[in-house]
């Protein structure tokens, strides 16, 4: 259509959340590489379910979920693993591992990709600087402030150059200065070619050029 890869394609999806409540009845949604979509929905309208469908930890009751052109679901674990390695996540289901240090948390995707220690160190030092985490690199994740946690998650989400980032409530409970800092980082990530899927329960409060906003209503995106 526009020459770019369609990295996300949900077709006629019917799905329930973990509580068994049907949140999507006939969901159609697509996202191209480098695009930004903002999904707005109240609590329990299916934002987390949408993230889980995309990473394949939940299976749709009907319809198909294609990520990077491949069907993801509980059936093909190998394919799901490959897809998940190309997705970075911040907030919601994506969290830091509390008892690991900031560095260890950020490095995990590179270890899974099998990158060398030297390569890991170069990328880590670079990202710690960019995300103002250099002084916190040896601290355990549970000691971080909310803002630092989002920064560390963003660093982890992009360290392996993941093309798709799922960002759940990025500015929730953050002060203005930290929010602006994170908005700046998100814009830079968009500019660097990452596709952003932002999930929020209200307006995000910032704009990313070319982004599309969707409302979850009656089990559909409008």
């Amino acid at each position: 259509m526009n020459g770019r890869e369609k990295i996300l394609e949900l077709t006629s999806v019917r799905a329930s959340n973990r509580a068994g409540i049907t949140v999507f009845r006939d969901l159609d949604f697509g996202l191209y590489a480098g695009d930004t979509a903002i999904i707005i929905g109240q609590t329990a309208t299916g934002k987390t379910t949408l993230a889980e469908l995309i990473v394949g930890t939940m299976k749709p009751e009907r319809g198909s979920v294609k990520v990077f052109g491949k069907e993801i679901g509980m059936g093909n674990e190998r394919q799901a693993i490959e897809i998940r390695r190309r997705i970075g996540g911040v907030g919601g289901i994506f969290d830091l591992i509390p008892n690991l240090t900031v560095s260890e948390n950020i490095l995990y995707p590179l270890i899974l990709h099998g990158e060398s220690k030297k390569e890991r160190k170069i990328k880590l030092d670079q990202l710690l600087g960019q995300y103002n985490l250099t002084g916190r690199k040896k601290d355990k994740a549970f000691k971080l402030t909310r803002g630092e946690k989002v920064m560390a998650l963003l660093a982890r989400a992009v360290i392996a150059d993941q093309p798709l980032l799922i960002i759940d409530e990025p500015l929730d409970r953050l002060d203005i200065a930290t929010s602006e800092n994170i908005i700046g980082l998100l814009k830079r990530l968009w500019a660097a070619g990452h596709a952003l899927l932002i999930l929020t329960n209200g307006r995000v409060g910032f704009e990313i050029p070319g982004s599309k906003e969707y409302q979850i209503k009656d089990g559909r995106l409008q």
Binding site: V55, T57, E77, R78, I81, E82, I83, R84, R85, R86, I87, G89, I93, F94, D95, L96, I97, P98, N99, L100, Y108, P109, I111, L112, G114, E115, S116, K117, R156
Partner: protein
């Protein structure tokens, strides 16, 4: 290689972060495996003792006085050719008299005109033929000879000893199964507890694209490591402890180095399997 080093680091981190749980798992496995070691050593030692006693068993065939000596010599030679017979010794009436004197310390036949003691053949057997069924078979064959008045061997003792040996073997097998199962369940439980503690980390690893192997490795390795260390420590303690014990008639017999090696290997495999089963729960 990098991933392997990282996974090993994760395993040791899991162990170090839960020292009490790790020590509990290790010690319970040590006790279980040591119990098996002790029963194994006891079984080997009693088997050796039994074999020694068995080697002293022979059949004594008493001969009628009416049988001519020449026929007795032919009979001795014929019996010597039986399969499994090691040696046939002819005991003359004079030899029997001498042996009785030696046994009793005085001549009980003084005053008698004739030596009433019968001639006999003492038959000893090769070790593989020393069992109740085979000796009974020999007894029947020997009874077919003319001139045989009676046959004696420690039949009751042999049957009781064999019965005890079968019981010990069955007990060993039963204990082996129970202990293997206990080791397996112990590893499963330890692995489940460990995986349960790291459930949050596991869920995040899955979201980042970690495979089952990557996630399970530390738990599987942990299970195998505990079992291996417990098996080695068990034999080391038992070897050390055996130096402080000595029995009058029973020698303490240990399995061969190869058998101990395979035992440790099998324990490790059981631990590994237990770790695998235990960590599977983390994927539910």
């Amino acid at each position: 290689m990098n991933r392997l080093v990282f996974l090993l680091w994760r395993t040791f981190r899991n162990i170090i972060h839960r020292p009490l749980a790790a020590a509990g798992s290790f010690l319970s496995l040590l006790l279980l495996l040591m119990l098996f070691d002790i029963v194994w050593v006891s079984s080997l030692s009693s088997k050796e003792y039994y074999s020694r006693l068995l080697s002293e068993i022979d059949i004594e065939v008493f001969i009628k006085d009416s049988l001519p000596d020449t026929t007795l010599v032919s009979m001795r030679d014929a019996i010597g050719r039986f399969e499994g017979v090691d040696k046939v010794q002819l005991i003359s009436k004079e030899d029997a008299h001498f042996m009785l004197n030696d046994l009793m310390g005085s001549d009980l036949l003084t005053g008698l005109d004739n030596n009433p003691l019968p001639r006999s053949l003492i038959i000893t057997f090769k070790p593989d033929f020393l069992n109740a069924a085979t000796l009974e078979n020999y007894r029947r064959r020997l009874l077919e000879y003319d001139g045989v008045s009676d046959i004696f061997y420690a039949k009751d003792w042999l049957e009781r000893a064999e019965y005890a040996r079968v019981r010990i073997s069955r007990f060993m097998l039963f204990l082996g199964i129970v202990i293997s199962l206990a080791v397996l369940l112990n590893s499963v439980r330890a692995s489940r507890i460990s995986a349960g503690r790291y459930q949050y980390e596991i869920s995040q690893l899955r979201l980042m694209g970690a495979g089952r192997g990557f996630i399970s490795f530390p738990f599987i390795f942990e299970g195998a490591l505990y079992s291996l260390l417990a098996a080695i420590a068990g034999w080391a303690l038992l070897t050390y402890g055996a130096g402080y014990f000595a029995f009058k008639n029973i020698a303490i017999i240990f399995p061969t180095s190869a058998e101990i090696f395979y035992f440790c290997l099998l324990s490790t495999l059981i631990g590994l399997f237990g770790g695998y089963i235990g960590s599977r729960q983390s994927f539910q």
